[in-house]
Symmetry: none
Subunit: 127 residues, 4 copies
């Protein structure tokens, strides 16, 4: 799986990392039960601080996307995200979609075009 980080972005690196991994799981590039690279591997590969990778993993763990086994390292959780995180996610998702809708409409997009964009995004998760 390819992880792309933009060091000059304003979103923190550990958040970018978290997002990229969530996308990777969603797309099936990382399968349930599959191991993630170790913190050291990934930090070396991306040229970022190990603490940054560690922080991303920790968030993914609290959100229930991954679980860590002392012996095997981090692996994608089979059961999917925990209930609590999911509920929070729902509200946040609606709020984000509301903002996105507003921006889309004000750029002249109509309902059909916006939904096509949404559908295209979701389609990437179904391959």
């Amino acid at each position: 799986m390819v992880i792309r980080i933009d060091l000059s972005s304003d979103t923190p690196i550990y958040v970018q990392l978290r997002n990229e991994i969530v996308k990777g799981i969603g797309k099936g590039e990382l399968l349930p039960g599959e191991n993630l690279p170790t913190v050291r591997q990934l930090s070396a590969e991306l040229g970022v601080n190990a603490m940054t990778v560690s922080k991303a993993y920790q968030i993914l763990k609290t959100e229930g996307y991954i679980e860590t086994d002392r012996r095997r390292g981090a692996a994608v959780r089979a059961a999917g995200p925990k209930g609590a995180a999911a509920e929070n996610g729902r509200e946040k998702m609606e709020s984000t979609l509301e903002l996105l809708s507003a921006e889309a409409k004000l750029q002249g997009m109509d309902r059909e075009e916006f939904l096509r964009l949404c559908g295209d995004a979701f389609a990437q998760m179904e391959v």
Copy 2:
């Protein structure tokens, strides 16, 4: 129009403000040409510093959502956002939707449900 700010959020106040106002314009709660509250009014109402509000207005101005007439204060721009901001917005929007899709799918949502959510969000802009 009601603006709700979460002082304990990790997203900066001026970004929250910017987002709320974009939503307000999108929903038609703020009509083209309509005046926004003055910087001082809004800052007093929200209990934040005037510079914070000013910063939000300046961003909205460079994005082309509003314009400021030295005589009347800030008002919603009739022409809509500038081309430049719109182009950047497209890529960002696709990236956000990709992440949202991944999160949605991993919470067990199927395509239909996700698109319904998207449609509901956009519907708020069409009232």
Copy 3:
């Protein structure tokens, strides 16, 4: 002569006014000795405060572009701008051109293209 003012611009209206009139004189749309509209006429025509127009005229007068006769109002000065203003203008002009050159180059323009742009601008003054 047509004067176009952008009320939502960040450059003060009286400066825009001053600039437009200088351009007008340069282009020959306002001939030496020709009368300018009265402050009241112009302020009414543009829908701006009379004091704003007055301020622009005052600047043009100190710069030596126009002169005011109590009986005839303001008129384009035959002799052109005064020496002092001209000297100041020279330095300022060089500084502005330096900035413009930098911006041009960084946008990928080459010398030839930049000079063509400069030549085109000057050509408007020679019709």
Copy 4:
């Protein structure tokens, strides 16, 4: 690189700073990838507030002249200014040149002299 600020000028300090840095990049005094002084350094050196410097940097960032890496501070962007800023710049540049031409002509400059001035300015960017 030497940065000179005129505290008594009517153009805001952060704009002067932005302009000086753009000139510096154009002249090659600041090379692509090279680091700019930190906000605190520069603010101390110039005797202005850190926020003022920060504001200048933020503008240069949105214009695409520099980028900030959370680890190393601000650095000159290799790719040059973003397309969006470049487009706006073109119109503004033509308008400025038009005004400059008028002023030049009214000071008695002829086409040849004006173009020499323009050429001299651009030459500084080609050393």
